[in-house]
């Protein structure tokens, strides 16, 4: 049974690979070539990753509150939290 693969493309040098979609293939080598034919027909990329969809461990929406909300009030992690005297040009 053919496997579902997630496809990641690096649009150009200097950028990270980003998820663009998925496809089916029986094995990794075929998946990589299919990704080239399906997702880079219009020069969308310079590098490809394919990952079996089943290999991805994802956070669950049920855990969204406990995972992501606690970060919300840690404003001191952001530079705009701090006041710098006008005399300081750049910091």
């Amino acid at each position: 049974m053919s496997v579902l693969w997630e496809v990641f493309v690096r649009p150009r040098r200097g950028l990270a690979h980003a998820h663009v979609g998925s496809l089916h293939a029986a094995d990794a080598e075929t998946a990589l070539r299919n990704a080239r034919d399906v997702y880079t027909r219009r020069s969308e990329g310079v590098s490809l990753w394919v990952v079996p969809a089943s290999m991805i461990t994802a956070s669950s929406p049920d855990e969204q509150d406990s995972f992501f909300e606690p970060a919300g009030d840690k404003v001191y992690r952001h530079p705009t939290f701090y006041e710098v005297p006008d005399a300081v040009d750049q910091m």
């Binding site: 053919s2 496809l23 089916h24 293939a25 029986a26 080598e29 075929t30 070539r33 299919n34 034919d37 399906v38 027909r41």
Partner: protein, 250 residues
């Protein structure tokens, strides 16, 4: 529309040289054009959606090569002809493509075997032509060799899978190889490029655990303008619309 017959004019010398270059270009162009035609017959028929897209990509590459080469060959013709003049109006006996590429598609194994052989052959040709004295041809070859390298890789990938996949896929590959091999042999001589091409194909077949067929040369090769009725059928289909509207532009 002037005749596109390619017999040399009365003056030999440079005109003769141009004619032979032109015939050589037509061989390359027609291989690509006719192979592209056959591959495009797979559209909406491939074993899966991903392969449908892959075969269309290869057909588009080959069509692009054909257009560049026909455009160039047309410029070497007196009076000058366009790519469409050469594709749509040239008599079948002036087509220089290998018979290998005009044969009907058959099953997917036949298509893969033929692509393996054609791409291996084109790869060596284009690789060599990258350093041709003719700068225009060298540029076309430099672009095309990258494309056929991918075609070769695609055919190799499937040859390995079909060669050792199931008993049925193996049987179909053996049948296809036996049928296509003599048409491949018809194309090859014994120069370095041809030997290198054979060597690569033999290696792929070995990895796929498929036996190398015995050499037998089928005729005609197609290179001298003699073809099978399959080419007539292709050209009739290709020209169905244009033949009904002579002189129209599209």
């Amino acid at each position: 529309m002037p005749s596109t017959r390619c017999e040399d004019g009365p003056d030999a010398g440079t005109a003769g040289a141009a004619a032979s270059d032109r015939i050589y270009l037509l061989g390359l162009a027609d291989d690509a054009l006719i192979a592209s035609h056959r591959l495009s017959e797979w559209v909406a028929r491939a074993p899966d959606l991903e392969e449908d897209i892959a075969l269309a990509n290869i057909a588009l590459d080959l069509l692009g090569q054909a257009r560049m080469l026909l455009g160039y060959a047309g410029e070497l013709t007196d009076p000058v002809l366009t790519e469409d003049d050469l594709a749509y109006l040239r008599p079948a006996d002036e087509f220089r493509n290998a018979v290998l590429v005009e044969r009907p598609n058959g099953d997917f194994a036949v298509t893969i075997v033929r692509l393996l052989l054609l791409a291996a052959y084109q790869y060596e040709l284009y690789a060599g032509l990258r350093t041709a004295a003719d700068a225009r041809l060298a540029a076309i070859a430099a672009k095309s060799v990258k494309e056929v390298a991918y075609h070769r890789d695609h055919a190799r990938l499937w040859t390995l899978r079909l060669g050792s996949g199931t008993a049925e896929s193996r049987r179909r590959m053996e049948t296809a190889l036996a049928a296509e091999w003599p048409w491949f042999c018809a194309l090859l001589g014994d120069d370095r490029a041809d030997r290198s091409c054979r060597h690569w194909v033999a290696e792929v077949l070995g990895t796929a655990t498929l036996e190398l067929p015995e050499d037998r040369v089928a005729t005609p090769s197609g290179r001298d303008g003699v073809h099978t009725p399959d080419l007539d059928a292709i050209l009739a289909e290709m020209r169905e619309v244009t033949a009904a509207h002579p002189g129209a532009t599209w």
